[in-house]
Amino acid sequence: MGDIKVLEAVERYIRGEMNPDERLHFENLRKTNAEIDQLVVEHTLFLQQMNRFGEWQKFRGTLHEVHTDLAEQGKINSARLTGKAKVVYLWKRYKRVAAIAASIAGITTLTMSALVWSITPQAPASEIEKLKGEIYSIKTKTSQTDKELSKVKNSINNADNTIIYKTGGTGFIIDAKGYLVTNAHVVEGAHNIAIQNNKGEFTARVVYIDQLRDIAILKIEDENFKPFTSVPYAISKTESKLAEPIFTLGFPRNDVVVYGQGYLSAKTGFNGDTLSCQLELAANRGNSGSPILNKKGEVIGILNGRLKNAEGFTYAIQGKHIYKVLDELKKDTSYQKVKISARSSIAGLEFQQQVEKVEDYVFMVKVN
């Protein structure tokens, strides 16, 4: 145990992380204790070597990436061979055959999955409400809101050059670098997208949209955004259990994050839709795109709708589909580094504590 403390001190000393008092004390210790002095010398050498090794590795990674990029864009003629060797030539031909075989396999797979999708029951649009919120509640027909509407109109007139976001939903971070997931229907036909929570408001852009699964991936593109260090929750790849307690965070109101709690009530969605699952959970407009988390700190789904005229029948797209959409996205080489954290750091905590950790990663998605 003592050795660990000593080594920790040595590392902090080498990195210059000690405060002046500590440093003085440590330097005295170094003068009087030859063993510690030796350790400092030795460890400095080791850390230097590690650092250089790390940079070397990183640089090699960059080279590799650059090569692949440039070859694909045809900016270097890496794939083209000017060599005379027949073996090389044959290999090239063989590769082409392999590519054709692979693409046939690909087409077959696509056709099969298209078939499967077409068999999957589609909910009649009229019976399921998508919970995309109307930020200014224009659709609610009461005299009061009519009044508010005129207020809103006034404010629109007053603020000519600011963007007025009309509709919205919820989204949550899946990659600390600034990638979010929300519902496709939330960002449908969007011109501008902004995301907002207590951390601030940032502009974002759709990088992938899958209408069928109703999943969209957004990327925060805002110079004021500082990437997170990590994401506290993981995303579940497996099927959830019936009656599993769940909670959600979303923005059904315009300004503050709202917590909801319930349980998984059916493993499939409306009319046996295998893409989604059913939750006993109160949800409102603006909740679309909210993460559904379980006790293990895993996102098991994305809230995307509720049954009309019936409280508590809420539907969510199963979490594993996020992975599928991400795989599609990654086919674009510029997004190959998007990564979902595989481990949840909030597993087993009380919901209350989990919410505290998750809150910063859930954003209101505003669209116009």
């Binding site: 050795d3 660990i4 080594l7 920790e8 030795e42 050498l45 080791f46 850390l47 070597q49 590690m50 650092n51 250089r52 090794f53 790390g54 940079e55 070397w56 590795q57 990183k58 640089f59 090699r60 960059t62 080279l63 590799h64 990436e65 650059v66 090569h67 990029d69 440039l70 900016k75 270097i76 003629n77 890496s78 794939a79 061979l81 000017t82 060599g83 060797a85 090389v88 260090t229 990590s230 506290p232 954290s341 481990r343 750091s345």
Partner: protein
């Protein structure tokens, strides 16, 4: 002269592993090196290997100095690639044809020697870290290479608290240092 002034920002970018700079240098010089290798008994894969190694030599050179070469980047990369390729052919006991230079060359023997020594050190470190197995490999990489802090590592690796992660990291580190210093003393003892 004008060329050299233009190339300084590129070299500065290269020294900090700036992707744009790396890409520019790569794009402007790769084809030249590839034709050198392919016209001299090599394949496209060889060309990629040799060119990337030459890029590493250049990277090390600009990091150690003042971002100044005494020649153009193009000349430097060509000279290094040629030297590396002839060496490779010798090692493989393949015929090393006399190469006629369409480009001018500069002497880079010293740099290549330094590079080979460093490369061997890094390969050793690479092997040493891999030989530790998991979770040591990922744990040490996360802390010393990706510079993540211990709380984050503890969370990502599923340790119940940072102290447990620290304990494990310490054990791994001791093993790595043992291998490292055994090699280090050998290398420097025998000359």
């Amino acid at each position: 002269m004008k060329q050299e002034i233009n190339e300084k920002p590129l070299l500065k970018g290269l020294a900090i592993n700036d992707k744009k700079a790396v890409e520019t240098i790569y794009r402007e010089n790769y084809n030249m090196v590839q034709s050198l290798i392919i016209n001299n008994n090599g394949s496209a894969d060889d060309a990629k290997d040799i060119f990337q190694e030459a890029m590493i030599v250049l990277y090390e050179k600009v990091r150690s100095g003042t971002f100044e070469l005494n020649c153009q980047i193009k000349t430097y990369l060509y000279s290094v690639s040629k030297r590396l390729w002839l060496k490779r052919l010798q090692q493989l006991n393949r015929y090393a044809p006399p190469i006629e230079d369409p480009e001018s060359t500069v002497s880079v023997d010293e740099e290549i020697e330094d590079h080979e020594k460093r490369d061997a050190e890094f390969e050793m470190m690479n092997k040493a870290i891999s030989s530790l197995g998991e979770p040591c490999k990922s744990l040490l990489e996360a802390y010393y290479l990706q510079k993540q802090n211990m709380q984050v590592i503890a969370a990502n690796f599923g340790y119940t608290n940072a102290d447990n992660a620290k304990n494990q990291k310490y054990k791994c580190l001791m093993r790595l240092k043992k291998i490292f210093f055994a090699h280090y003393k050998n290398e420097n003892g025998d000359g």
